[in-house]
Amino acid sequence: MNAHALLGQSINLCAVTLLVLAFAMIAQRRILTLIHLFTLQGLALVVATVLVAHLTGDHHLYFSAAITLVLKVVLIPILLHRVIDRLHVRWDVETLFNIPTTMLIGIVLVVFAFQLADPIASLSASIARGTLGIALACVLLSFLMMIVRAKAVPQVIGFLSMENGLFFAATAATSGMPMIVELGIAFDVLVGILILGVFMFQIREQFDSLDIRHLERLKDD
């Protein structure tokens, strides 16, 4: 039994987990479950990063894994939980546009992403190059989720999940970005969620609802 090959396959497994979780987010109506799914996605990302770090011997990847763990598995979920508590939307259920149709579009996106990543992946020498397509698919799926959601909190989660996909793409294709860039992004995400949190409260104050369709009314008539 080849431990090295097995670890490589585990990275693939993590990648696929990310993809399935991205799909699960698209199909999920409950805001609370969405946050759980997002936490799980972060966890899968941490495991994948640690595995890549172990296989390539790039020590700085351990740091990025640690940052991800702290940020995406602990800090942001806690923040999100507090937000939905304060906004009283913990048990909210969204009405969604036809889920199977959305998922069919998702499948098309996956094919597109796989197709797109194919030539790039063959250039890369990284250990997990096969997963680049999956990472790209995760990004696109999260984007799709942001498009089809009508409420603010799921949109923020979609945004964060997209960042997960980007991070994974960086890990998979190039064994991670330079440390300084990663720290910068981590900080950006943190600030981003704080600002978005503030916005959510503001929207709520203004319209008594988190439905961002109300923002359509803000344009000049």
Binding site: L6, Q9, V16, L104, I107, G130
Partner: protein
Amino acid sequence: MVSLGGVLAQLLEIVLALLLAPLLSGWVNQWRAWLQGRQAPGLLQPFRVLHKLFVKESVVAESASPLFRLAPYAIFGCMALACAIAPTLATDLPLGPAADAIALVGLFALARVFISLAAMDIGTAFGTLGARREMMIGFLAEPALLMVLFAASLISRSTSLARIVEALAGQDFAIHPSLAVAGVAFTMVSLAENARVPVDNPSTHLELTMIHEALILEYSGRHLALIEWAASLKLFAYSSIGLALFVPWGIAAGAAPLAILLAIPVLVAKLAVGGMLLALIETINAKMRLFRVPEFLATAFLLAVIALLVHVLLGA
């Protein structure tokens, strides 16, 4: 080509399936009761129920056609064959080459069509309602199951279930991400196909929700016994397929008697764990509204398709 050992293994498998299937249902029911804090019926309760039903006389509606009386036997035959094809103890089975994974799906479909037609035969409101709902579940679950089996076939380059098991269990241990996704899809499909909680609840007769019970409402006596037995055989067959695809270790590769005998306790242990997990899933989930069922199954279907795509991308 067909060895004596193979024939014996085949017979042993069928007999074991017939005996273990009601036990498995009893086991799941026991665990369900325990998890829900109720006192559980005995493990042998399904057998007692079957015996009771066999002893009673069959009451058949006046308007029933011969199709109605034929259907329970046909369904029972289909399910027994399904159990015989799925490799539970050994992979060298004489009936194995007769039907591969695709034919197995066809077999389930055949049983489904028969039970739906039988339900429509009497011409009651509930019967047709059940038939419609059953076919609705079927047309989404069937392709999903087929895609799950395809994911495994692509890995082992064969649609023969025995070859799939040999390929997955025989080679070096490897993680197949596509199979992991397919596993999720398979779980969802099995829940729907076996009338389990998020989709159907076999312990109620509520017209808003019932599917399986609406189908068999007009059956009684030995006909009902056969259908109930066939239902537990179906659960057994699905469990066997699931075990063969995702936990294939411990199934005898040839027809060596010792290996087959050793496979029995392994099988029982795997089934016991599987049954517990099934009871757990049924306990922690609430039953879905009927409108949500197509969504649930479409998700399973698309997951299985993703499994195929992942296989194409990663080659594993």
